[in-house]
């Protein structure tokens, strides 16, 4: 036992003395939370649009005022000619253009019919759709408010946004950031640390010593486990106090699931290190086989249900996907263990599998 502690101490020194790496390992979650929490949002607002009001009558101006006053839109340009229209889009200055025909008001009065054109830059289809929807809604609203004289049947919709009343993007991101950071710290760093010893040749020295080899490896994991624990705490704290994303579920459950995932990641790191003797390769595998899938296929950045079936199948193998479901359900929706026991089991199963596989590989390498 004492031997083991010596090794743990040595590993701590390695990690602790590499200040630059530590800075990044602690700093990354903080920066990610700040960015995801404050800078990134899928909400559409302040979209730059252009207006070509050929009519310039009371109604058109009224509508333009409404639109300009809404927080979704930012009227950046007033166009006067057709060719300016194309230019506005080509130069990337506007996302949508609203065009009023010159006979707008008169057509409305005399023919009961007039059309406003919404030209959207569909390079980002979602934004185009959303902007068109919002603009239409504002126009319809304007219409209704002007003509609320007779009894016109009106069906009102009352909408409640659950779990995330302000539609903050951060809600879905915090668990994702956690998964990413844990994967990075535990899996990638552990694997590189083990492989580095192999590369430098000091692994042989250790293997010749009386310590049981598996303990060496576990000793390597300990600092990163602790680092991750600290990161988990800092992410949760930041989430609650800086982002105002409260932890709805049982805190103990949240933390235990996080720790489970940490161990999963560590086991994965161990597996990677048993596959190669070169640091560069370990880095490559970590990046390509671990990090990228975690980011892309776990469901935190992009919805899994949108992906083509083969990708959905692959995503089932990505541990982060299950962790993400668990953490989202418990942290954000506040659900209890009954809802996540299945996923927890899967995660635990994966962990066991990785560990057994790597122990086996490790043993054969040594013999």
């Amino acid at each position: 036992m004492k031997q083991f502690l010596f090794f743990v101490q040595k590993e701590f020194y390695h990690v602790w003395r590499d200040k630059r790496t530590m800075f990044i390992l602690f700093g990354m979650p903080v920066v990610q939370i700040l960015i995801f929490g404050f800078a990134l949002t899928n909400e559409v607002k302040n979209a730059r649009i252009a207006v070509w009001d050929q009519a310039n009558d009371k109604i058109s101006r009224g509508i333009i005022d409404q639109i300009g006053g809404s927080r979704y839109f930012n009227i950046g340009m007033n166009l006067n000619r057709e060719d300016e229209l194309e230019q506005a889009f080509q130069s990337g200055k506007v996302k949508m253009a609203i065009v009023f025909p010159s006979d707008f008001e008169s057509a409305l009065i005399h023919n009961n019919q007039a059309t406003i054109q919404l030209i959207a830059d569909a390079t980002d289809p979602n934004v185009a759709t959303t902007l068109a929807n919002y603009a239409t809604a504002i126009i319809m609203d304007y219409q209704t408010s002007r003509g609320r004289i007779q009894q016109i049947p009106a069906i009102k919709t009352e909408v409640r946004m659950l779990y995330n009343p302000q539609l903050k993007g951060s809600y879905s991101f915090v668990p994702g950031v956690m998964a990413l950071v844990l994967m990075l710290v535990c899996a990638m760093m552990t694997s590189i640390s083990i492989v580095r010893e192999k590369e430098m040749g000091t692994m042989e020295v250790i293997l010749v010593s009386p310590i049981v080899p598996i303990r060496v490896v576990i000793a390597k994991m300990v600092p990163y486990f602790l680092l991750s624990a600290i990161n988990i705490c800092s992410i949760l704290l930041m989430s609650v106090f800086v982002l105002d994303v409260p932890i709805q579920g049982n805190l103990l459950l949240v933390v235990s699931e996080c720790l489970l995932f940490t161990i999963t990641a560590l086991a994965f790191g161990l597996l990677i290190s048993s596959l190669t003797n070169s640091q560069q390769v370990a880095m490559l595998i970590s990046l390509m086989g671990l990090f990228l899938p975690t980011m892309l296929l776990s469901g935190f950045m992009f919805p899994v249900e949108n992906m083509p079936v083969p990708l959905q199948v692959i995503s089932n193998v990505v541990p982060a996907k299950w962790f993400y479901i668990i953490s989202r359900s418990v942290m954000i929706k506040g659900l209890s263990f009954d809802y996540v026991w299945k996923e927890t089991l899967i995660l635990a199963g994966m962990t066991l599998f990785f560990m057994l596989l790597s122990v086996k590989k490790f043993k054969t390498r040594l013999e």
């Binding site: 590499d18 559409v44 607002k45 730059r48 030209i119 959207a120 390079t123 990228l292 892309l296």
Partner: protein
């Protein structure tokens, strides 16, 4: 000049003999371009609706029928209890719960006003926003239908028939992949340029070969150029590979000219390589180099407008994007590939990027000391 040529010979030999790099160069674009556009699909489809109908009236049934008739919505359950419906939401089996209260039809007929309630699973902000908006749209449409049915032929809706015609330019098929792929090409080039160059130089530091170079009469700028040029060429090659894959797999061909893109890419690569150079002066080991460049690139990519729109960012974040070279390249890529913008249209971006390149690389050359 000759010294530079000899230096470049050596660099290229080393690069192409490194199996890891070659694998990276070909695997990364392939993987990114094949997987990422399929994964990064923010298009909202198949919104799962669970309906709780307390009214069971002809009108409520009509409303439900209307909703389910669109292929946008999938009716997953029809329950008689709000709590049961919420369970569907909790399990992520439904995205929206529509509750039609008792007396829906009666209120509509008697008072010309009635309400429906919607509970949206807003954990996924995008889906929630769009799904909810669409559902409201369907309800509003139903409303209009009812109005039309009940209205007298004349008088009623006298002035209020403003029609809205929505036209989509540049991506008429609303293909999300067409939108994502150019941005992904940017990430590709950025990674190769920034990552690999930093790793390469730090490896020389780690192994000690940099000392050997410092002892020779090689000039500072020779050394820097000797490192920049190979990766600059590599970056352009990867861009070409990327475009080829984009064409073969997705049928994406730039509306604008390739020349415009490559001119900008050439300038952009200089910036990214300068960054890689900078990182290499900060890191002592390959591991550090990898972490630091990864960290920096992650920030740049997230704040570059690839996944979320810059307009929606708070002002301080927008200021950051002004200094982010990735932002400009993503802009330019999208503009040229999808809209056919020309060199003239992007001259602002080119100038900005060239300025960044000069500052970064100048700084790196000045900072590089053969003698410590």
């Amino acid at each position: 000049m000759r010294a530079l040529r000899i230096l470049l010979e050596k660099e290229f030999r080393q690069i192409f003999r490194n199996p890891a790099i070659l694998r990276l160069m070909f695997m990364v674009p392939t993987v990114q371009l094949l997987i990422l556009p399929h994964a990064a699909d923010f298009e909202v489809k198949n919104v799962n609706v669970c309906v709780v109908d307390f009214d069971h009236s002809p009108y409520s049934q009509r409303l439900v029928a209307k909703i389910t008739s669109t292929d946008y919505f999938q009716l997953v359950a029809f329950t008689d209890s709000y709590d049961k419906a919420l369970r569907y939401l909790a399990k992520d089996q439904a995205d929206v719960v529509l509750q039609i209260p008792e007396g829906f039809e009666r209120s509509l007929v008697k008072e010309d006003e009635t309400k429906v309630f919607m509970a949206v699973n807003a954990v996924n902000g995008v889906k929630a926003g769009l799904g909810g908006a669409y559902l409201q749209g369907v309800v509003a449409d139903f409303n209009r239908e009812v109005r039309v049915e009940w209205s007298q032929p004349q008088g009623m809706n006298a002035q209020h028939a403003i029609g809205v015609e929505a036209i989509n330019w540049y991506n008429p098929l609303m293909n999300y992949k067409t939108f994502m792929v150019p941005g992904i090409l940017v990430i590709l080039v950025t990674m190769v340029g920034g990552f690999l160059s930093a790793l390469n130089i730090v490896k020389e530091k780690e192994v000690g070969t940099i000392e050997q170079i410092n002892v020779t009469p090689i000039r500072k700028y020779h050394f820097v150029l000797g490192k920049l040029i190979p990766f600059w060429i590599l970056g352009l090659i990867i861009l070409t590979i990327g475009f080829t894959i984009a064409w073969v797999v997705y049928g994406i061909v730039p509306v604008g000219s390739f020349l415009t893109i490559y001119v900008f890419a050439a300038a952009y690569l200089l910036v990214v390589l300068g960054l890689g150079l900078g990182v290499s002066t900060l890191a002592n080991t390959q591991q550090q180099a990898m972490l630091i460049s990864f960290f920096i690139m992650m920030i740049f990519i997230l704040l570059g407008g690839l996944f979320t729109s810059i307009d929606s960012m708070p002002f301080w974040a927008q200021v950051v994007t002004w200094f982010n070279p990735v932002t400009y390249f993503i802009e330019v890529m999208r503009m040229v590939v999808l809209k056919g913008s020309t060199l003239a249209d992007i001259k602002g971006q080119i100038v900005t990027v060239l300025l960044m390149a000069v500052v970064l690389n100048g700084f790196a050359v000045l900072n590089y000391r053969k003698r410590s």
